[in-house]
C-alpha cells in the first residue's frame, strides 16, 4: 500500500494536540495523587467531626439515661419506701425522662422486686441467668448489654444495669431511642454518608436502613472500625462485593459502642470531580483557544507556504509577483533569499533575454523578439497597430565606401536618434543589416500620429551623423502598413510594409510610402524575377550589349561599355536596374559578373581581332565582385583564357565604393592595374569621393555621370561643378568620359571642357554584338563618325 504523504497542517495540528494531551496527562499524574490525598483528608476531618459529634451526643444521652437510673437508685435507697411507693417513684422518675421502656429493681437473688406499674406482672420474675449477674461478679459499676429482644416491646433493646445496695437497677432502653437520637445526624448527613452505630461486636444499633438494626445484622466494616479505633487510622476499605469506602470511626466511651461514618470513596473525593469538571472546562477552553491559535498559526504557516509555493509557480511561469512578505520571520528570510534568487534569475533572464531578444549593436529588439511581439499582438486582435519598415538607402555602399566599422557606427548613431522618437506604444526591431521595423500600437488620431512619426524618422537623415570622426550623409526609405486595414495578420502587414518600403526605394529612395494593394504587383514581379534569375545564366537568357565610346571629335572609337541585358520568356526584358539589385542581394552577381567578364573579353577579342584594333572593353564591376579575394586572379585568368591584351580591359567601379578603407580592394585594383587593366570610376559626381580617394587608387579614367551631362548648357550651378570635375580630372591626369551624351550641344560643351571621350545615344545606343559589328563596319566605311552631322 502506498504510504500517504502527510499534510503539514495535519501533522502540526496532531503534534500540537498530542503535546497538549501528554502535558496535561503528566500534569494530572503529578497532581492527582496530591489532590486525592487532600480530598480524603478533608473528608476524614469532616467525617471525624461528625463521628465525634455523634459519639459525644449519644454518650451524653446514654449517660443521662444512666444518671436517671442512678437517681432512681439513690431515691429508692434514700426513701426506703414501701413497694408500691417505689413503683410510683420509678414511674415518676421515668416520666421525667422517658428513655427507658422498662425499669426493674432486681434483687441479688435475681427476682424482680420493683418495676414500672405497667409491668407489675413481672415482679417476682427471675433474672438470675441474665448476663449482668455474671458481669457484676467482676465488680463492674455499670453493665451495658448487647442487643437483645426486649421482653416489654418484643423489639431490639439494650439493658443498662447499675449496682444498688439491695440489688440491681435494670433499665431497658429500646434501640429506637438510640435511633431517634441519631436521626438528626442521619437527616443531615445520611444522604451521602452512612452513619452507623454498632455495639462492640459490630451489630447494628443505628443505621438509616432500620432493617439492619432490627435484624441485628453485623456491620461488614466492623473489624475495620475496630482497627481504626485501635490505630486511629482511616481506612479505605474494599473487599469482594463491597464498594470502596472511606471509614472514620470513634468509640462511645460509656458503652464501647462504635460510631462509624462510611462514605463511598468516590463521594469522598467528589471534589476532584468538581476540579476535573473545571479542568475539563478549562482544558476544553484551552483546546478551543489552542485550536484557534493553532489553526490561525498553522494557517499562517500554511498560508506562507502556499504563498511561497504560488510564488514559485508564478515565478516559474514568469508572472511578476510581489516581494512575498511572510507572517513569520523565517518565511520573510526565506522570501528575502528567494527574492535575491529571483532577482538574480530575473537579472540573468534579462541578460539572456537581452542576448536572445536584443540586437547587440543597436540595443533594439532583434528578430527573435519579433516572435514574442507577434504573440503579444495576437492576444488582442481587435487592437489596431501599424508597422513601419525602415531601410537605409544604399547602406551597402556606405559599408563599401567607409567600411563596416563606420557602417555599424552609423547604425548605432541612427538608432540613438530613432530611440528618441520612441514611446511605450512603439516597439522597434532590427531585422538585420540596415533594416528596422517599428510596430506602433494604435493611439489617438492614429494616422496623423504615424504621419508625424514617419516625418520625424525621415528628418533624422536631414543632418549627417558623426561616425568615427566622420560625418556620414545618408537617407532612408520607409514603408508603412496598417493592421487590420492592410491585412489580417502580422506577417501580411510586415510584408506589406516591406513592399511599401521597396516602393519608396523604387521611386528614388529617401522617402516614405504607405502600402497600397497595387504595390503587391511590383513585389510579385520582384519575386518572379528572383525566381527566374537563378536559371537565367544556364538558360542563356542574359545577353551583352555594347555601347561604343568615341573620342570627343568622333574620330576614334575608344572602345565599348559592356551592358548586360536579361530577356526572360516570362518577364520579357528586365531592366538591369531591377535585376542587378536582386543579384547583389542574393549574391548571384558573382557568377553573373564572371559570365559578363568572360563574354565581354571574348567579344573584345573578336572585335580587336576582326578590326585589328586596340579597342577597350569597359565592364561594370559590382563592389561585391571586387570584394572577392580571387577577383583579380579570376580576371587575369579570363584575360588569359580569352587571349586578350590586359589593356583591352577596363574595370568600372562605382564612386561610393570605399576602396581606401579596404586594403584588399586597393590591392586587387593595383594588381589588375599593374597587369595592364584600366580602372575607371563610373557615374562620377553622384557620390562622395574625396580627392584623397582619387589619389589612392590606381585610376585611369573618370566617367562623368549623365546627370552632369544632361544639364550642360543650362544656366545653373551644376555646370560649374561639371567644369570643376573636368578641370580636376585634367589636373589629376585622368582621362574623362562623358556619359549620356545625347545632343550635339553636349559635344560642344564637352569639347570646351576638354573631355576626352563621349558615350551616349548621340553616337550609338548599346548594340548587340552582331549589330555592333555592323555599326563598326559602317563606321569604318565612313572612316569616321561625323558628330556634327548627328
Amino acid at each position: 500500500m502506498k504510504k500517504r504523504t502527510p499534510r503539514l497542517f495535519e501533522t502540526l495540528f496532531a503534534l500540537g494536540f498530542i503535546s497538549i494531551f501528554v502535558s496535561l496527562f503528566l500534569a494530572w499524574l503529578l497532581v492527582s495523587n496530591s489532590l486525592t490525598n487532600y480530598f480524603i483528608n478533608v473528608a476524614v476531618e469532616r467525617n471525624l467531626e461528625i463521628s465525634n459529634s455523634i459519639t459525644a451526643y449519644i454518650d451524653d444521652k446514654l449517660r443521662e439515661a444512666l444518671s436517671q437510673l442512678n437517681l432512681i437508685r439513690e431515691s429508692i435507697e434514700f426513701n426506703k419506701s414501701s413497694g408500691s411507693e417505689i413503683n410510683d417513684l420509678i414511674l415518676q422518675m421515668n416520666q421525667i425522662n422517658q428513655s427507658f421502656v422498662g425499669i426493674e429493681v432486681v434483687s441479688f437473688e435475681g427476682k424482680v422486686v420493683y418495676t414500672l406499674p405497667q409491668h407489675s406482672s413481672e415482679i417476682g420474675s427471675d433474672r438470675s441467668r441474665e448476663a449482668y449477674f455474671r458481669e457484676f461478679e467482676r465488680e463492674m459499676d455499670v453493665y451495658w448489654s448487647s442487643v437483645q429482644i426486649s421482653p416489654y416491646t418484643n423489639s431490639n433493646a439494650i439493658t443498662i444495669v447499675v449496682h444498688s445496695r439491695d440489688g440491681f437497677l435494670v433499665g431497658n432502653l429500646d434501640l429506637k431511642e438510640i435511633q431517634e437520637l441519631s436521626n438528626v445526624y442521619l437527616e443531615i448527613f445520611g444522604e451521602h454518608k452512612e452513619i452507623t452505630i454498632t455495639d462492640r461486636n459490630g451489630i447494628y444499633l443505628v443505621n438509616k436502613d432500620i432493617s439492619l438494626v432490627v435484624e441485628r445484622r453485623l456491620d461488614p466494616h466492623h473489624s475495620m472500625a475496630v482497627d481504626i479505633i485501635n490505630g486511629d487510622e482511616v481506612f479505605l476499605h474494599k473487599e469482594s462485593g463491597l464498594e470502596t469506602v472511606l471509614i472514620t470511626s470513634t468509640q462511645i466511651p460509656s458503652t464501647g459502642w462504635i460510631a462509624s461514618i462510611s462514605e463511598p470513596y468516590y463521594n469522598a473525593i467528589g471534589g476532584i470531580n468538581y476540579i476535573i469538571g473545571i479542568l475539563i472546562s478549562f482544558v476544553t477552553i484551552m483546546l478551543l483557544v489552542y485550536t484557534l491559535l493553532l489553526w490561525r498559526g498553522n494557517s499562517k504557516v500554511i498560508q506562507d507556504l502556499r504563498n511561497f509555493s504560488k510564488r514559485l509557480v508564478n515565478v516559474s511561469q514568469g508572472i511578476e509577483t510581489n516581494s512575498g512578505k511572510g507572517n513569520f520571520k523565517e518565511f520573510e528570510s526565506l522570501n528575502e533569499s528567494f527574492n535575491v534568487m529571483v532577482d538574480k534569475i530575473a537579472d540573468r533572464d534579462k541578460k539572456l533575454s537581452n542576448l536572445a531578444y536584443h540586437d547587440a549593436l543597436t540595443g533594439f529588439h532583434n528578430r527573435a523578439y519579433l516572435e514574442e511581439l507577434i504573440l503579444s499582438l495576437m492576444k488582442s486582435p481587435e487592437k489596431e497597430y501599424a508597422v513601419i519598415y525602415l531601410d537605409l538607402d544604399n547602406f551597402s555602399h556606405i559599408n563599401d565606401t567607409y567600411g563596416h566599422q563606420v557602417g555599424d557606427q552609423l547604425l548605432i548613431e541612427f538608432s540613438k536618434q530613432l530611440e528618441l522618437l520612441l514611446d511605450e506604444s512603439i516597439d522597434i526591431v532590427r531585422l538585420g543589416g540596415d533594416e528596422f521595423i517599428l510596430i506602433i500600437r494604435a493611439i489617438a488620431d492614429f494616422e496623423k500620429a504615424i504621419l508625424d512619426l514617419v516625418s520625424k524618422i525621415m528628418s533624422i537623415s536631414s543632418s549627417p551623423l558623426k561616425c568615427n570622426d566622420r560625418l556620414i550623409y545618408f537617407t532612408m526609405s520607409t514603408g508603412i502598413s496598417f493592421y487590420p486595414n492592410d491585412g489580417n495578420e502580422f506577417w501580411t502587414i510586415l510584408r506589406n510594409a516591406d513592399t511599401a518600403m521597396y516602393q519608396a526605394k523604387a521611386v528614388g529612395k529617401n522617402t516614405s510610402s504607405y502600402f497600397t494593394q497595387d504595390m503587391n504587383a511590383y513585389i510579385e514581379r520582384r519575386l518572379l524575377m528572383e525566381q527566374h534569375l537563378r536559371p537565367a545564366i544556364k538558360n542563356g537568357e542574359f545577353k551583352l550589349e555594347f555601347q561604343p565610346q568615341f573620342s570627343i571629335d568622333g574620330n576614334i572609337i575608344r572602345g565599348f561599355e559592356a551592358l548586360v541585358r536579361w530577356d526572360n520568356p516570362t518577364l520579357g526584358r528586365v531592366s538591369p536596374v531591377d535585376f542587378i539589385a536582386i543579384t547583389e542581394e542574393n549574391k548571384m552577381i558573382i557568377p553573373l559578373g564572371r559570365w559578363i567578364m568572360k563574354q565581354a573579353c571574348e567579344s573584345i577579342k573578336i572585335l580587336n581581332d576582326r578590326y585589328d584594333m586596340q579597342f577597350v572593353m569597359a565592364i561594370n564591376v559590382s563592389p561585391l565582385e571586387l570584394k572577392e579575394a580571387t577577383f583579380a586572379d579570376s580576371v587575369i585568368e579570363i584575360i588569359n583564357e580569352t587571349n586578350i591584351q590586359p589593356h583591352w580591359l577596363e574595370i568600372e567601379i562605382t564612386e561610393n565604393m570605399s576602396i581606401d578603407k579596404y586594403l584588399s580592394l586597393k590591392i586587387t585594383l593595383e594588381k589588375l592595374h599593374q597587369y595592364g587593366v584600366s580602372i575607371s570610376i563610373d557615374d562620377f559626381g553622384t557620390g562622395y569621393s574625396s580627392l584623397a580617394y582619387l589619389q589612392n587608387i590606381p585610376l585611369d579614367i573618370l566617367k562623368i555621370d549623365r546627370t552632369f551631362i544632361t544639364h550642360l548648357g543650362e544656366a545653373n550651378d551644376q555646370n560649374l561643378m561639371t567644369e570643376t570635375i573636368f578641370l580636376m580630372a585634367k589636373k589629376l591626369g585622368l582621362m574623362t568620359i562623358a556619359e549620356g551624351v545625347e545632343t550635339a550641344q553636349h559635344i560642344n560643351f564637352l569639347k570646351d571642357l576638354e573631355c576626352d571621350f563621349v558615350q551616349g545615344f548621340l553616337m550609338s545606343k548599346p548594340l548587340r554584338m552582331d549589330n555592333l559589328i555592323i555599326f563598326i563596319d559602317e563606321y569604318f566605311n565612313n572612316k569616321k563618325l561625323k558628330i556634327d552631322d548627328v
Partner: protein
C-alpha cells in the same frame, strides 16, 4: 494514521477491561430466615452461624480460589415473605440458599426452588413432609418425628398423667407434626393429652390465663412448641404463679434465650437437641470461641446448623469443583458422610440428614444431657 489514533484508546480500554475482568468472581450464597420480631433468635443465630462460616472460608482464600458472599434476607418467619425473599436471592444471583429456619415457611418455597433449580439447605427445618423426596431441598437436622418420639418417650417414662400442649400457631406445620406424634405415642400409655392450646404471636398473650387453663386441667406435664424466648416468658409467669409442671421442649426452644430470660424458672425443663452445648469437643470449643468473639453471644443450635450448612456447601463445591447447584446437590447426596462441628453428619440420597438426638435438662442454668 487515523486508524492508529483509534487503536490506542481501544488497546487501553481492553487492558483496563481485562484488569477488571480478571478480578475474582464470588460465589453468592443466600441466607433466608426470620430476623425480626419474636422468635427471631433462631434466624439471627442462624445468620451469625452462616456469617462465621463464610468468614472462615474466605479467610482460607475461599473455595477453589473463589470467595463466598453471603446475601442475607429476612423472611420474617412468614411464608409469603419467604417466597418473596427467595425470588430476590435468586435474582441477586444466589443459586444456593441457606434457610429457611422454620418449617411453616418452607412448604411453599420448596416447589419454587425446585422449579428454579436452586439448592436450598435448611439448618433447622425438619418437616416430615419434606423428607424422602428427590427435591432440591436438603436439611441438616433429622425429621421432627425424631424429636417428637424422644420427647414422647420421656414424657411417658416420667409418668406424666395429664399432658398439656402449648404450641405456636405461627409454626403450625411443625406443631402439628409434634402434636400428632405425641398423640400417637401416648395413646397406649397412662399419659393423657388433656389440654392443647395454641397461641398467635401477633396477638397479646395472656400468660396468666394460660397457666390458669393448664392448672385447671391439672396438667402435670407441659409440651411447649415455641421459641425459647416465648417459653422463657411463660416459665417466668408459671413460676410466679407457683405452677411448676414438668416442661418438655423441642430443639426449637433450646436456645440461650431460654436460659437467660427464663432464669431459674426454666430449671429442670426437658428438651431435645441435636447438639451438646456444653460439649468439650475441641472443634466445637474452637467454634464456640470464634462465635462468642465475633457476636458476643453463645452459639445456639441454629447457629451451629447454619455454620455446618455453609461448610457443607463449601465442601461440595470443593470436591465437585463446580458451583452449579445441581452438581453440588449430587455431590452432597452422593458422599453422604461429612465431618461437622460435632462429628459425622450423614445425609441420605434425598438430602435428609441423620443425626443423634439427645435429651437435655436445664440444671443450674445449663443444658445437661440426661437419659430419658
Amino acid at each position: 494514521m487515523k486508524l492508529k489514533f483509534c487503536l490506542y484508546p481501544l488497546i487501553v480500554s481492553l487492558i483496563l477491561f481485562s484488569a477488571c475482568a480478571s478480578s475474582k468472581q464470588t460465589i453468592k450464597l443466600g441466607f433466608a430466615g426470620g430476623l425480626s420480631g419474636s422468635g427471631s433468635n433462631l434466624g439471627i443465630d442462624g445468620m451469625y452461624g452462616a456469617l462465621l462460616a463464610v468468614d472462615d472460608i474466605n479467610s482460607q482464600s475461599g473455595i477453589n480460589g473463589q470467595e463466598f458472599e453471603l446475601i442475607v434476607k429476612n423472611d420474617q418467619n412468614n411464608p409469603e415473605q419467604a417466597l418473596k425473599v427467595d425470588k430476590e436471592l435468586i435474582a441477586a444471583g444466589c443459586n444456593i440458599i441457606i434457610g429457611h429456619m422454620i418449617s411453616s415457611v418452607a412448604l411453599d418455597t420448596v416447589p419454587f426452588i425446585n422449579e428454579k433449580k436452586v439448592l436450598m439447605i435448611s439448618p433447622t427445618i425438619a418437616k416430615d413432609e419434606l423428607s424422602m423426596l428427590d427435591d432440591h431441598f436438603i436439611r441438616l437436622i433429622p425429621s421432627n418425628l425424631t424429636q417428637a418420639n424422644l420427647l414422647s418417650e420421656t414424657i411417658i417414662k416420667l409418668g406424666i398423667a395429664n399432658l398439656g400442649i402449648l404450641y405456636s400457631k405461627n409454626n403450625m406445620l411443625f406443631a402439628n407434626t409434634f402434636i400428632q406424634a405425641i398423640n400417637d405415642s401416648v395413646i397406649n400409655s397412662k399419659t393423657k393429652v388433656v389440654a392443647n392450646i395454641g397461641f398467635d404471636l401477633n396477638e397479646e398473650l395472656n400468660y396468666g390465663q394460660l397457666v390458669a387453663d393448664f392448672r385447671e386441667q391439672k396438667v402435670d406435664g407441659l409440651l411447649i412448641i415455641a421459641s425459647g424466648d416465648i417459653v422463657a416468658t411463660f416459665a417466668q409467669y408459671s413460676s410466679l404463679l407457683s405452677y411448676n409442671p414438668k416442661v418438655f421442649l423441642p430443639a426449637w426452644a433450646m436456645t440461650n434465650d431460654l436460659i437467660i430470660k427464663g432464669g431459674k424458672s426454666v430449671e429442670d425443663y426437658y428438651g431435645v437437641n441435636y447438639i451438646q452445648l456444653d460439649s468439650i469437643n475441641p472443634d466445637f470449643l474452637s467454634f464456640k470461641t470464634k462465635f462468642r468473639n465475633k457476636f458476643g453471644t453463645e452459639p445456639t443450635f441454629s447457629a451451629i446448623m447454619a455454620y455446618e450448612s455453609v461448610m457443607l456447601v463449601a465442601y461440595a463445591i470443593k470436591s465437585s469443583r463446580s458451583s452449579d447447584p445441581m452438581v453440588i446437590k449430587k455431590s452432597i447426596t452422593k458422599n453422604n458422610s461429612y465431618y461437622g462441628v460435632f462429628g459425622d453428619l450423614i445425609i441420605d440420597e434425598y438430602g435428609d440428614a441423620t443425626r443423634n438426638i439427645n435429651l437435655f435438662q436445664i440444671r443450674d442454668g445449663k443444658f445437661e444431657m440426661v437419659q430419658p
